[in-house]
Symmetry: C2
Subunit: 196 residues, 2 copies
């Protein structure tokens, strides 16, 4: 059995990620996680009441980490809103594309976990749309954009760039023209947001 | 054996559609088609050299039929280009949504056939993008739109509306807010196309 610092939730989540990577999402069990940590599975259940709760927490942590660099872009008021919007959408696209190409198996694992926990995914999308809302509202404030409802406009921009962040389209992201295609969509959307 | 008018390609395709509907894409055979027509399977092979060729022809005919009402919208110069673009995108969305909700099994069958024949699908997308190009070029001509390259802009508009025509997003099309969401994307894109 494990000695040393007390078992905390973060340690369990990190071990679960490693177990998921090693065994795949279909085979990974709570017992595997407990074994990897050198603890009883009761110790794991003390932090996460079920296997589903543990997997959801892994999915949420992963999605949260994915939002971090985007939050930094959204908050970077040194960039004017139109340029910031373009940077945000490009950052989202390139991050997803790298994730997909660098480690397709891990990407597939997280897709399984996220699909199992649709509320985690819905919260993630809400978080992303909120970041877009901030950029659009800043643009309205500076006179670069016009929008009667930045939150609704944020959803519209998210929907109009679906081909560049929804994993169903991942097979097309490696195409050499994908980045220029996103760039063209961004230019059209930014133009559509400008006041006239 | 069959009597009456000589067997033509269209008759075979119609029978194949019926067989696919009855047996599903995994089980349907050329022999089933021949049986349904009361002919030998050699008679079918005289028109289509292989099962793959027959299935591709069914996919192409289906996709061609799907483009017909859209071609009528694209060519309807009584509508100004911005309104025509909106009508075209909405027609594409509602046609796909109906197809999906009215007969999900048939929709799934055609998805299998189209996935088998990626060149048929690529040609279909090219055909749709060409219709969009006509609308955009008309808009440039009338001064409603600006675009240095209507063909490229047509691809951009098609990409920006992916969530409303790509079957990966079909599960979301039944949501009550889907139509308003597409409407918002259309408005943003049309705004983005306007000269300033």
């Amino acid at each position: 059995m494990r000695s040393g610092p007390a078992l905390d939730a973060e340690t369990i989540l990190t071990a679960t990620e490693e177990v998921l990577r090693r065994h795949g999402p279909a085979k990974a069990t709570v017992l595997d996680v407990a074994r990897a940590l050198g603890v009883s599975h009761a110790s794991v259940y003390r932090h996460f009441p079920s296997k589903a709760a543990l997997r959801e927490a892994v999915a949420r942590r992963w999605l949260g980490r994915a939002r971090e660099p985007l939050a930094a872009v959204a908050a970077d008021t040194r960039q004017a809103a139109p340029e910031r919007l373009r940077t945000w959408l490009t950052t989202l696209f390139t991050a997803k594309r790298h994730l997909m190409s660098d480690d397709p198996e891990l990407f597939a694992t997280y897709r399984v976990l996220v699909a199992e926990h649709s509320s985690a995914f819905a919260d993630h999308v809400d978080g992303l749309v909120e970041q877009l809302r901030v950029i659009i509202a800043d643009g309205v404030g500076s006179g670069d954009f016009t929008s009667p409802d930045p939150a609704a406009t944020a959803r519209t921009v998210f929907a109009a760039t679906m081909a560049y962040h929804h994993p169903a389209h991942a097979p097309e992201w490696q195409a050499p023209e994908a980045e220029a295609a996103l760039e063209a969509v961004c230019a059209l959307l930014i133009n559509g947001l400008r006041p006239r």
